[in-house]
């Protein structure tokens, strides 16, 4: 990936090179963006807030997957199963009278443990073999959810409690939005910081050239397994947030298509980019809405009657997901985050953008 730093802008210390916000302006922009988001419940209706919440918990899980795929170069086609495990684990913890705020993090830790179990064989596998092994994990976990009634409520699903802190119930979109936002901020800052530590650099080294990394003294098995654990932790927390938003968890949601959606999020957002995970999640959550509104626009017309758009909207959404993945891979393999940087660079260097 090419660097977008303009000529003449040299960093003179490691501190300056590893900072999260390269300029004061970018830090200010981030804070202003957060403040604007905090005002969102005043502006948006419940439906739009629901979409924002969905973007939030998806982004957390996508960030976990991005740490695994984008930063460590491993691949997982079973992320939705871990997301679902987190959702069920949190619901189970709540049933054991753990308060919801703790249950969410507890679910993350439980999912991380399961991820380590599946990650242990993954430490020896690469590329395609790993893809196949995680595909197997997806089916095995899905089967486990359907069968283990004590854990997931079986096919009937499991009902759970809303988020409650200091006697205040966050059971409406307007309030639960802040809970999701807080978790997103904490986990995104944690991930951005992880990439500045020795461990984070080790993960990137494993991705870039694992043989060289091993020669430099990086324990491959340890970091591959660790990366699986972190990814599962993020997936678990995302799943738990999902569970306490919908208040009902059921097996069918966590199928392979959902796993593929998570992969699509990080590819569309940008592999190996923290902000890209958020952009990709937003794109994938809003894509069905765009398809829906496109179909609504054509509703009643000749095209609608011939193609049966209204009746088959769910297939159209799936097709849009598949098409989005392929088109992004062919035309913008570095994702939305790259496009965003190009746009910024264009304005910064205008009119001398070449």
């Amino acid at each position: 990936m090419t660097s977008m730093t303009p000529a003449g802008d040299f960093r003179s210390s490691y501190r300056a090179d590893t900072t999260i916000f390269p300029t004061r302006g970018s830090r200010f922009a981030m804070l202003a963006g957060l403040a604007l988001l905090c005002a969102a419940p005043l502006v948006f209706g419940r439906y739009e807030l629901g979409l924002l919440i969905a973007i939030g918990y998806s982004a957390i899980a996508a960030l976990g997957l991005n740490i695994l795929v984008g930063f460590t170069g491993q691949i997982s086609i079973g992320h939705a199963a871990f997301f679902g495990f987190g959702a069920f684990a949190s619901a189970l913890l709540v049933e054991w009278h753990v308060p919801v705020p703790l249950a969410i993090w507890g679910a993350g830790i439980m999912t991380a443990l399961v991820g380590l179990v599946f990650g242990a064989p993954a430490a020896r596998l690469k590329g395609l073999y790993l893809a196949i092994a995680t595909l197997a994990a997806q089916f095995i976990l899905e089967d486990f959810f359907a069968r283990a009634r004590w854990f997931s409520g079986g096919v009937a699903g499991r009902v759970t409690e809303p988020y409650e802190l200091f006697g205040f119930r966050f059971d409406r979109e307007e309030t639960y939005f802040y809970i999701v936002l807080a978790h997103v901020v904490v986990l995104f800052v944690a991930a951005a910081n992880l990439m500045r530590t020795r461990d984070g650099r080790a993960l990137v080294a494993v991705r870039d050239h694992y043989l060289s990394a091993e020669m430099m003294g990086i324990n491959l098995a340890y970091y591959r397994t660790l990366s699986f654990g972190i990814a599962s932790f993020y997936a678990g927390v995302g799943g738990a947030l999902y569970a306490h938003y919908l208040l009902f968890v059921s097996v069918e949601a966590f199928n392979i298509l959902y796993s593929i959606q998570f992969l699509a999020m990080i590819i569309i957002g940008g592999l190996g980019s923290v902000m890209g995970s958020l952009m990709g999640a937003a794109f994938m959550v809003l894509l069905p809405e765009i398809v829906q509104s496109g179909a609504d626009l054509l509703a009643g017309g000749a095209i609608d009657r011939v193609l049966r758009l209204g009746a088959s909207i769910s297939f159209l959404r799936e097709m849009a997901i598949g098409a989005a993945i392929i088109l992004f891979l062919i035309f913008e393999p570095d994702g939305l985050v790259h496009r965003w940087k190009m746009i910024k660079a264009y304005w910064k260097l205008y009119p001398f953008s070449h």
Binding site: A136, D143, M319, A323
Partner: protein
């Protein structure tokens, strides 16, 4: 223990396993020729079977005509997929290529659901005799035919890769692209050809399964069952793929039998191959018969 039941199940396993073997073989063909892991293999079965069904029911074509037209269509389909989607991705990391085929897979699954609906549709009857007796067992004649078709395809593959010029060119490309190129093999054409052959062969398997069970979205699951088969058999061995397919076919039927008799866990038919897959990868990270890559810096 009911021996006849067990025997019947093993026979079923062999029939289904032979089909898995055929699909696994066409998966390995693509992998060997172009280093692409095709997660959309099952959709070849799906598209092929639906196309054939559509020609037979909508246009009332006789079976042989519809079948041949389907094969022609799948040739074009495979080549077009390779040129439009996979060719721009040459040189990209493995993850991108895998994701592209995953994208193709959901796209076509949704597309056929949109075009043909979600319900299984039966093929018009092709065989006049429903069942034949084989070794004292009643076997559906479709099954016998499907075994025959599988064996025929396997023999065809063997002939193609041992004697025909194109097959030898493909093997040369799989061995070393640059050397093959310098000897006058057109590598892009080999890539396109491998996708075409793979699509056609998978479509044949799809039509066979469609004739047996009816055409439905369940066909795409054959593409996923391919993975246990190739992990058992080794990714770069066509013979291994066939063996792996047979093993997986027998394994899932026997697992279902064991489950129904003693365990009662349910759904072992679908899941058992994946447990086997994880176990094998734990012990041998390159599969049972796969070649271990020696990596140098």
């Amino acid at each position: 223990m009911e021996w006849t039941l067990l025997f019947q199940l093993v026979l079923n396993g062999l029939v289904v396993g032979a089909l898995y073997g055929v699909v696994a073989m066409s998966f390995v063909l693509i992998y060997k020729a172009s280093q692409v892991v095709n997660f959309a293999q099952g959709e070849f079965l799906l598209v092929g079977a639906w196309a054939c069904w559509w020609l037979l029911t909508n246009w009332q074509l006789p079976f042989w005509a519809g079948f041949l037209l389907t094969l022609a269509f799948m040739t074009v389909f495979g080549v077009l997929l390779q040129i439009i989607v996979l060719r721009p991705l040459i040189g990209e990391p493995v993850i991108s290529v895998i994701m592209a085929t995953v994208g193709l897979s959901i796209f076509f699954q949704a597309l056929v659901k949109w075009m043909f609906g979600v319900f299984a549709q039966p093929f018009p009857p092709i065989f006049s005799v429903e069942r034949v007796s084989l070794l004292g067992l009643e076997v559906q004649s479709v099954y016998v035919a499907s075994l025959g078709v599988s064996a025929f395809i396997m023999l065809g593959f063997w002939w193609f890769f041992t004697y025909s010029k194109h097959g030898l060119a493909m093997r040369a490309t799989a061995f070393d692209q640059q050397v093959a190129q310098s000897l006058g093999v057109s590598v892009p054409r080999v890539f396109a050809m491998s996708w075409a052959i793979s699509a056609v062969v998978s479509a044949v398997a799809g039509v066979v399964v469609g004739v047996v069970n009816g055409v439905s979205s369940a066909l795409s699951f054959y593409g996923i069952k391919v993975f246990p088969a190739v992990i058992v058999g080794g990714l770069d061995s066509i013979v291994g793929a066939v063996l792996g397919g047979l093993i997986v076919g027998v394994l899932e039927n026997v697992a279902q039998y064991v489950d129904a008799q003693w365990l009662n866990w349910g759904n072992m038919y679908q899941i058992a191959p994946f447990y086997a897959l994880i176990l094998i990868l734990l012990i041998k990270p390159y599969g049972l018969f796969g070649t271990r890559n020696i990596e140098r810096v």
